[in-house]
C-alpha cells in the first residue's frame, strides 16, 4: 500500500501584507515623490506587477544626503549613545512583531521561499539590529580606541538577493556607531526596504537618520558619488564594486565592498556523507543560489565521487521547486528575467564546453522566472562554470585526490569569500581552513550566518567585514 505522500499546497496568506499601488522615496522621515520616471517591481514567481516605485535622481539623492547630514549634525551625532541603542532595540522588536509581514513581502518581491524568508532572512535581520543596538554605548570597547567617532553620512547600496537582511547588515552597524544613512535598495526588490521605512517611523526614529532612495544603477551611482557622503558600503557584483572603487578613488570617502564569490565546498572521503550532502544542497540551492558565498564549486575526493553524486542527485530529487509562498517550497523563483538569462547562458556554455548537465525531473510553473536545480559533473577548472559566478542554482563538480590538490583548486579563483570543508578529522579541518584564502570557512556546515560573526571576503570578493566587533571598524574612525 505504499504510495506517494503528496503535500497539499500550504500557501502563506498574502493578505497580511498591504502593498500600495505606488511608493515614493523615504527622505527626512517622509515619503516624497521621486523626480525620475517611476519603475515597476514585479513578483518574479508570476510576473505580476506589485507596485510602482519612485526613482531617485541626483537631486533626490542630494536632498536625502542633506537630510542625513542634518540629522547627523543636529540629532543623531550628539545623541546619547545609549539612546541610539534604544532606537535600534525598538527597531529590532518591531521587526520581530511584524516578522510575518516582512517574510511574505520579501518572498513576493524577491521570489525566495517563504520558509527561508520566515526562518532565515527576517529573524536574522531582527537579530542584527538587536546585536548592534547593544554596541551603541560600548564602542570604546571595540578595539578602535577609547572614543572612536562615526564618519558621518553613510551611502549604502545593497543587492536583491537578501533585500531586508542586507539592509540590516548595512543600517544596523551604521546607526549603532552614530552615522546616518542614505540607502539605495536593489532595483528589483525595493519593497521590504520601504516597509522598513515605516518601521523607522513606528520607532519614532528622528527624521533623516535613515533615508531610502529607490532606483536603479544611476541612483546608486548618485549615492556613491555624492560629495557629502563620508562612507560608502556596497554589496553586489565585483564588476560594480570595481567601478565604485574607481569612483571613490582620490576622495576622503571610506569604502567597504562585499562582492562576488565562487566558493569551493570540499568533501573528503571521511566526511559525514549525509550531512555533507545536506551541506552541498544548502550551499548551492539556498536562496536559488543567489548567494555571494554560495558553495558553487563542489570539490569532491575522487574515491567518494560516485557515492556523493548519487546521494546528491537523490537528495536534489526531493527538493520542491515552485510557489515561493508555499511553506513547503525549497526553491523559489529566479529574481529577474535578466538573472534567468544569465544563468541559462552560463549553463549552456557549461554544456558546450563539455561538462555534463544533470537536472531532476521537475515541473516548473508556466509564468515567472524559473530554473531547476542543476548539477554539472565532469567540470574542468578551465570551464567558465568553474570560474564565473553564476549566481543561480547551478553546481559545478570537480574532483581532487590529495589535500594539497584540494587547496590548490579551491584557491584557484580570483574570488575569496567563503569555502566549505567536510571531514571528520579535526586536525585536517584546521589545516585546510588555515590554507584557504577565503573570509568565511564553514567546516562540516555551510551558509550559516550570525550578527556576531564577521563576514567578508579576501581578494576580489571585497574588503571590510560585516558583523561582529570587526564589522564596526567600517563605520568608525579610530581614536587614540
Amino acid at each position: 500500500m505504499s504510495q506517494l505522500f503528496e503535500y497539499a499546497p500550504a500557501p502563506e496568506s498574502r493578505s497580511i501584507v498591504d502593498v500600495a499601488p505606488s511608493y515614493g522615496l523615504f527622505v527626512d522621515g517622509e515619503f516624497v515623490d521621486g523626480s525620475g520616471e517611476s519603475m515597476k517591481t514585479v513578483n518574479p514567481a508570476t510576473e505580476e506587477v506589485l507596485s510602482e516605485i519612485a526613482v531617485g535622481t541626483e537631486a533626490d539623492v542630494d536632498r536625502a544626503v542633506k537630510a542625513a547630514r542634518r540629522a547627523f549634525t543636529r540629532v543623531w551625532g550628539p545623541m546619547r549613545p545609549a539612546d541610539r541603542g534604544k532606537y535600534l532595540f525598538r527597531i529590532a522588536r518591531i521587526l520581530q512583531e511584524r516578522a510575518r509581514e516582512f517574510a511574505v513581502l520579501e518572498s513576493l518581491d524577491n521570489g525566495k521561499p517563504i520558509r527561508e524568508s520566515r526562518d532565515v532572512d527576517v529573524p536574522l535581520a531582527a537579530a542584527h539590529f538587536f546585536y548592534h543596538a547593544g554596541w551603541a554605548d560600548k564602542l570604546g570597547h571595540a578595539g578602535l580606541g577609547p572614543d572612536p567617532r562615526p564618519h558621518g553620512v553613510a551611502g549604502q547600496v545593497i543587492p536583491w538577493n537578501f533585500p531586508l537582511l542586507m539592509l540590516a547588515w548595512k543600517v544596523a552597524p551604521a546607526l549603532a556607531t552614530g552615522n546616518t544613512v542614505v540607502l539605495k535598495p536593489a532595483e528589483t526588490t525595493p519593497l521590504t526596504a520601504l516597509l522598513f521605512a515605516e518601521v523607522c517611523r513606528q520607532a519614532d526614529l528622528p527624521p533623516g537618520v535613515v533615508n531610502i532612495v529607490t532606483g536603479a544603477g544611476d541612483t546608486g551611482r548618485a549615492v556613491v558619488e555624492h560629495e557629502d557622503v563620508d562612507k560608502v558600503a556596497f554589496t553586489g557584483s565585483t564588476e560594480v564594486g570595481r567601478s565604485i572603487a574607481r569612483a571613490v578613488a582620490g576622495t576622503r570617502k571610506v569604502l567597504t565592498l562585499e562582492l562576488g564569490g565562487k566558493a569551493a565546498n570540499i568533501v573528503f572521503d571521511d566526511a559525514p556523507i549525509d550531512q555533507a550532502v545536506e551541506g552541498i544542497v544548502r550551499g548551492i540551492f539556498f536562496n536559488q543560489g543567489h548567494v555571494c558565498c554560495a558553495g558553487s564549486r563542489l570539490l569532491v575526493q575522487e574515491s567518494v565521487h560516485d557515492e556523493v553524486i548519487a546521494s546528491l542527485q537523490r537528495r536534489i530529487g526531493s527538493l520542491r521547486v515552485g510557489d515561493p509562498l508555499d511553506k513547503n517550497t525549497d526553491i523559489g523563483a529566479i529574481n529577474s528575467a535578466d538573472q534567468l538569462a544569465r544563468i541559462r547562458e552560463l549553463s549552456d556554455i557549461g554544456e558546450a564546453e563539455g561538462a555534463h548537465r544533470w537536472q531532476p525531473a521537475c515541473e516548473l510553473p508556466d509564468r515567472g522566472f524559473w530554473f531547476p536545480p542543476t548539477v554539472f559533473t565532469d567540470v574542468s577548472p578551465a570551464h567558465r562554470i568553474a570560474r564565473d559566478e553564476v549566481f543561480g542554482p547551478v553546481l559545478s563538480v570537480l574532483t581532487f585526490r590529495t589535500p594539497d590538490e584540494a587547496v590548490a583548486k579551491a584557491n584557484n579563483t580570483t574570488y575569496g569569500l567563503s569555502a566549505g570543508i567536510w571531514t571528520e578529522k579535526g586536525s585536517r579541518i584546521l589545516a585546510i581552513a588555515d590554507r584557504l584564502r577565503a573570509g568565511v570557512v564553514w567546516a562540516n556546515t555551510f551558509n550559516q550566518f550570525d550578527p556576531t560573526s564577521p563576514f567578508g571576503g579576501y581578494k576580489q570578493s571585497g574588503y571590510g567585514r560585516e558583523g561582529g566587533r570587526h564589522g564596526l571598524a567600517a563605520y568608525l574612525k579610530e581614536s587614540s
Binding site: F5, Y7, A10, E307, N444
Partner: protein, 331 residues
C-alpha cells in the same frame, strides 16, 4: 577506508536472499572485521543531522495531505501496553481498539499491531483473530536485555509459541558499548533463528547508545544479523524516539538496501504522542527514503497515547471543529 556505498562492494548480478547481508558476509567473520566495518561507516555530524530533521519538521501538511497522513499513521501504529500491571482484560480492550480505533467511525483504519509482553501474546492473538492486526511481543529480557542467552532465547520461544508473529527484541547495550559487536551480532542471529516465521524487530535503545554514530552502527549491525525492522527504543528510557535518530536509522536502511537489495523497516517508539510528531516522522520517511517505506510493512510507530490524538485530529478534519478526550476511548 571502505564506504558501504562503494559500487565495487556490490558484486554484479547477486541478489541476496532476505535475511542475509550477502555482500558483507565477510565483515562478520571476526570481531576485528566487524569493528573495522562499523567504524568505517560514514560519521554522523550531530548538528547537521539535527538541523536537517528540524528543517523537515517545518513542513506544513494540510487538508488532503493531512487526512492521508493521519490514516497512514493510524495504520502504522503498534498499539502498545508494556506495564507490570497488564492483564488479559487490558490486552483484550486494547485489541478491540486496535481492530476499530474509532468506534463511531468505521472508516478509521485498523492499527498495524498490538504490542504486549510475551506471556500475554496468546490473549492478543485470540482477541485479534481474523482482523489482520499483527501481534507483537517484546522479548529477550525486555527492556534491559540483562539475562543469559538461554533465558533470552527461551523468552523468544515462549512468545512465538504463544502466537506472536512479530518479536521486538532488545540488543545488549552493555556488550555494544564495550565493543563486543560480534557478541551482539551473534545474539541477534540466534534470536532470528528462534523467531522462525515471525518478523524480528531489533530495538537499539538509542537513548543508551548516546551518539548518532552508534545509532548508525547498531542499525547496520542489526541489519547484517537479519533484522526485519530496526526500532529506536523500548519506551522505558529517555530520550526515546527523536526525529534525528529516526533520520539516521532511515539513512541506514536506505543505504543497506542500496548495498544489499534487502529492505528493512524502521520503528520509532516512545515519546511520539501527537499527530504533529507522527506527521513529522512521515515527512522524514517521505523525504529520506521515499514512498517505498510509507506503509505499515516498512514503518511503524510504537505508541499508546498517539492513537487517540490521531483520532481526535481525524475527527477535527472530518467535522471541522475541535473534539475532546471523551470523544475517543481510553485505553
Amino acid at each position: 577506508m571502505t564506504h558501504v556505498l562503494d559500487p565495487g562492494t556490490l558484486e554484479a548480478g547477486t541478489r541476496p536472499a532476505p535475511g542475509s547481508g550477502a555482500p558483507f558476509d565477510d565483515v562478520t567473520r571476526s570481531d576485528a572485521a566487524l569493528r573495522a566495518f562499523l567504524h568505517g561507516l560514514p560519521g554522523v555530524d550531530q548538528v547537521g543531522a539535527e538541523q536537517r530533521a528540524a528543517t523537515l519538521g517545518t513542513r506544513s501538511i494540510k487538508t488532503t495531505a493531512k487526512a492521508w497522513a493521519i490514516d497512514t499513521a493510524i495504520s502504522m501504529v503498534d498499539l502498545t501496553t508494556l506495564e507490570g500491571a497488564d492483564t488479559p482484560g487490558k490486552v483484550r480492550s486494547l485489541a478491540a481498539k486496535a481492530r476499530r480505533p474509532d468506534p463511531a467511525d468505521p472508516t478509521a483504519p485498523a492499527v498495524a499491531a498490538v504490542c504486549v509482553y510475551g506471556d500475554l501474546a496468546g490473549v492478543a492473538v485470540e482477541a485479534l483473530e481474523g482482523s489482520g492486526v499483527h501481534v507483537a511481543a517484546v522479548a529477550t529480557a525486555f527492556p534491559s536485555s540483562r539475562a543469559s542467552r538461554e533465558v533470552k532465547l527461551a523468552d523468544v520461544r515462549d512468545a512465538v509459541g504463544n502466537g506472536a508473529d512479530e518479536i521486538d527484541m532488545v540488543i545488549d547495550r552493555g556488550a555494544f558499548l564495550s565493543g563486543r559487536y560480534l557478541e551482539v551480532f551473534e545474539e541477534i542471529v540466534a534470536v532470528r533463528q528462534e523467531c522462525g516465521d515471525a518478523h524480528l524487530k531489533v530495538i537499539l535503545e538509542t537513548g543508551e547508545l548516546f551518539t548518532y554514530d552508534n545509532a548508525r552502527r547498531a542499525s547496520w549491525l542489526a541489519m547484517l544479523a537479519g533484522a526485519d525492522f530496526v526500532k529506536t527504543s523500548t519506551g522505558k528510557i529517555s530520550p526515546a524516539a527523536t526525529l534525528p535518530v529516526c533520520l539516521v536509522m532511515l539513512e541506514a536502511v536506505r543505504d543497506f538496501r542500496a548495498a544489499t537489495g534487502r529492505q528493512v523497516g524502521v520503528k520509532p517508539a516512545g515519546g511520539i504522542r501527537t499527530t504533529k510528531d507522527a506527521v513529522k516522522h512521515l515527512v522524514l520517511v517521505n523525504e529520506t527514503v521515499g514512498a517505498d517505506w510509507l506503509s505499515p510493512d516498512w514503518f511503524r510507530f510504537g505508541a499508546s497515547s498517539l492513537l487517540n490524538d490521531l483520532l481526535l485530529q481525524r475527527q477535527k478534519l472530518r467535522t471541522g471543529h475541535y473534539s475532546g478526550p471523551d470523544h475517543v476511548s481510553i485505553d
